[in-house]
Amino acid sequence: MNRRRDELAPPGLSAGALTDRVSATVLGTRPPRAWWLALGLATLLSLLFLVGVVYVLSAGVGAFGLNIPVAWGFPIINTIWWIGIAHAGTLISAVLWLTRQDWRASISRSAEAMAMFAIVLAGSYPLLHLGRPQFAYFLLPYPNLMDLWPQWRSPLVWDFFAIASYLLFTASFLFLSLLPDLASLRDRARHRAVQLFYGVLALGWRNSARHWHRYQQAHRVLAVIAVPIVVSVTGTISLDLAVSIVPGFHFTIFPPYFVAGALYSGFATVAIIAIVLRALFGFRDLITRAHLNRLGIMMLCFVLVVDYAYLQEVFTAFYTGEDFYRSVYYDRWSGPYAPFYWGMILCNVVLAQGLWFRRLRESVPGLLCLAVIAEIGMWLERFQIVITSTHKDYMPSAWDTVTPSAWDWLTYAGSIGVFVVLLLLFIKLMPAISMHDMREMLHRRKQREADHG
């Protein structure tokens, strides 16, 4: 392999220069103009979310395009889509750390932040969908006068626990990995107020060997439990569908199929964020084409699993010999939602094959296009799973179609705006590249060079 092309960081980069460069993006006085522009546009977009939420809460959940039988609609589609995006962040920061992948160092921070904000948005949709969100606490087991408990056999209760525990885990992991970097910022800051801000957050971290010793132990524990968490959270959400008897939902392949799709769309989001960071802060030498290439390879791995699952689902439907299962597929292929199905096939099966070409994976516009295609394709997949399965299940008397309302689209577009706003604020307030991970990576590289030379 071409060594020069596979470089993960500039050859002569020292730990000091790296720390100065990354902390300058936070402590420097003026963010780039593109950052302000992006923040302005994203804020406008996020106002749509606010308007949508206020309207839906005041008018009721009927403002969304929902009916019986299609009771789930956009809120659940978007929950599955957002939680899936979060998963790649956990995989990069934990699983790739356990397997000692050097290339994760420069993108792990943005991936963790992405995971954090994606879970917040994923969690907000079920609350909106409740109709009476003020009763959300009914999901919690708490002593009450009615002597009632949550229904522990219900997938909706499982969901609540899965998402809440994932949120707690991701927040802890993000803070843990930020801790040494907050100390770096505290030590670099020159204004008293800034020193206080990062100093309070750094909790008195001194880079002592004792700190690092316990830090690594805690990090290892969290990384190890991240492995089952990555496969279990979206797996649990898929059970909402799979434990029902609705044709099109009731497949045993659902948990792995959902996880692969989640990781596919998540890596696509990491790729988009990596490309934006490169352009915004000039990190082209820290997030290199070699990183983009690897992100593309990860996307390819998971999209192939997704494609296999599509095939397997169709096979299962026909192999059961059940008319109801088969008719779900006839309906997906030629029914009122056929454009969504074929759009999904176009994105995730046909266009995604572009990921096989290294030239495309390494080119910025090429990977950006493939990543956007992945996001659209995965959203269409979630759409066709949630909507097409319920709109035409067993009894023709129960069949109905549903049209997404303007509020569906506004809230969805607005939630992307909220995500971008949160991410832009994060990369301005916190180092977008994990400085201590990079220092460790550079240290290892120096040792390797010393051993070989």
Partner: protein
């Protein structure tokens, strides 16, 4: 003078020199010393005699306790208010595994995080080392070793020589 001193802070040019110096001084019987580096250095914890494994143990205990508690709660709730849904057994344990698993992860997460913070003595707003201007480099590219004055074998003059022999580039006294 020694009562007013927190210790001696020596700076080393690289991780290997810091590691060698830590090993050397530890061999000479010093116990109250700590090394500071901008990233974890492999072997440094052994060199300083750090072998405690309390963080993973606490995490494991928390995971088991919280997980068992979650399972017990579900069992108790099912018995306290039996729900007959389509004739399913009152104790449908397979359905309880998911919440139990999620809460086990919560226990492990909180156990690992909080024990790390607690054992490291965080939050710690003040420390004598923060008074040393050069110490800011510990979070950039500086490798430091601090010999604390509370050590029974502490002798500033003699230790200064040992540190220089081990390749320290600068040594300064840290006021308490």
């Amino acid at each position: 003078m020694d009562e007013r001193l927190h210790g001696l802070l020596a700076r080393f040019p690289d991780a290997d020199r810091l590691l060698a110096a830590s090993r050397d001084l530890r061999r000479r019987g010093l116990t109250r010393l700590d090394a500071y580096s901008p990233h974890p250095v492999e072997g440094l914890d052994q060199a300083l005699g750090l072998s405690e494994r309390r963080v993973p143990v606490i995490a494991l205990v928390c995971a088991v306790v919280v997980g068992a508690g979650a399972l017990a709660l579900q069992v108790y709730a099912s018995l306290d208010y039996p729900f007959n849904v389509g004739g399913r057994p009152v104790l449908s344990w397979p359905a309880y595994t998911i919440v139990t698993f999620a809460m086990t992860m919560v226990g492990a997460t909180l156990g690992a995080m909080l024990s790390m913070l607690w054992l490291n003595g965080f939050p710690r707003p003040y420390h004598p080392l923060f008074n040393v201007a050069e110490f800011d480099a510990a979070s950039r590219d500086g490798y430091f070793l601090c010999l604390e004055a509370s050590d029974p074998l502490f002798d500033a003059e003699r230790l200064r020589e040992h540190l220089l022999q081990n390749g320290a580039v600068s040594i300064q006294e840290v006021p308490a």
